[in-house]
């Protein structure tokens, strides 16, 4: 096919940066990451984010944050903690029903 003579012009230095976009659907929801946009500043990033991520009223609240300003941590390779830390979870206390029955019968025994 025919080739174009148009070439992308070299830019001295690109000012465009990546902004991560967070969106909240209502006041009872937390902000959630929904994607990213490129923009030269935060104001423009907000405009881009609004166009990209709220076309169907998915949210009225947006945060845009320069990717370079985000500090993150993750480590999938961390082994399961050696110590038993089930006490941090609700399911560790499932036997309250049994314990309640026990306590009740104890109370009845005392009353007698």
């Amino acid at each position: 096919m025919r080739r174009s003579t148009i070439r992308p012009r070299r830019r001295p230095e690109s000012l465009v940066e990546i902004y991560e976009v967070f969106r909240r659907s209502g006041h009872k929801e937390p902000f959630e990451h929904c994607g990213s946009v490129t923009a030269p500043d935060a104001r423009m990033a907000t405009v881009m984010a609004k166009e990209c991520f709220t076309r169907r009223g998915e949210g009225r609240h947006l945060w845009v944050i320069r990717r370079a300003d985000i500090h993150s941590w993750s480590d999938d390779s961390l082994p399961d903690p050696a110590a038993d830390k089930t006490y941090r979870f609700a399911h560790a206390y499932r036997d309250v029903i049994k314990k309640r029955a026990l306590a009740r019968s104890r109370a009845q025994a005392d009353a007698r």
Partner: protein, 307 residues
Amino acid sequence: MTYEERWTGFEAHIDGGGMVEAGDWMPDEYRAGVLKFIEMHANSEIMGAIPEREQIPGAPSLKRKMSLTAKVQDEVGHAQLLYRVAEDLGKSRDAMYWDLVSGKSKFHNVFHYPTFHWGDAAVIGWLIDGAALVTQASLLESSYAPYTRVLKRICAEEQLHLRHGEDITLELASGTDRQRAMLQDALNRWWLPIIHFFGPKSNVDKDLLLRWRVKTRTNEDLRAEFLDRYVPKVLELGFELPTPVPFKDAASGRWVVNDEDIDWAPLDAIKKNQGPETARRLGLRRRSYEDHRWVREALNDQTSQAA
């Protein structure tokens, strides 16, 4: 760690169902393969907006004009999301756009064909979006995590597009003889390109994207799902499908086509960017690239930033 050791670790991670994030270590072949794949998807979204846009003036009512316009906007929006994900793999949007408009990179075969009337809007909106959705839904399980996250959003919107296309189709199918003839005409022209859409039989042994779960299913598997799902829907409306004529396989009970009935020559031409509408549509994109240069430059202008 040597490159080979890292490679082995990476494969074990993938084999164990692991996902890959943009900042993770990945083999160069994985990075290049995923980038090319997502770039092609993004190109297809932005080029796919053109044939549909062509039918906006021909829409039969204001409501149809508005809904088709919204759909075109969605497709361009998908391209925005996908180019962003691809950029994070190391190729700038400008370079991708340039490769597209200069004919160096590719976009999906169905967007290389002309449209003629509102019947095209029906078939594109229903069957081509249906085919795209079968493919994209399979990619939700891809190993490249940033891609699956944007696909979630894209698939939700494609579901809506599918309803939109089906709505147009059913309106034509229940209309006048002329309306039905328009739909049949569009089906006759689009059927073979839709069969091509899924690509030729996958080479399972050689396809690294399949091995690394970037793609999760073979081309023929996706085509088979599409045929079994959509052929009965077309036939029950009283329309015919041309060569390769689908039939119900006696053994499996599924709707299929004979592989030897598929003429691959048109797809081979499109792969070389020599489809019927390739040059004209790339020309349109090139023109908009030029027309909007001032916007890119204004966004990037240091002096206006300082003001």
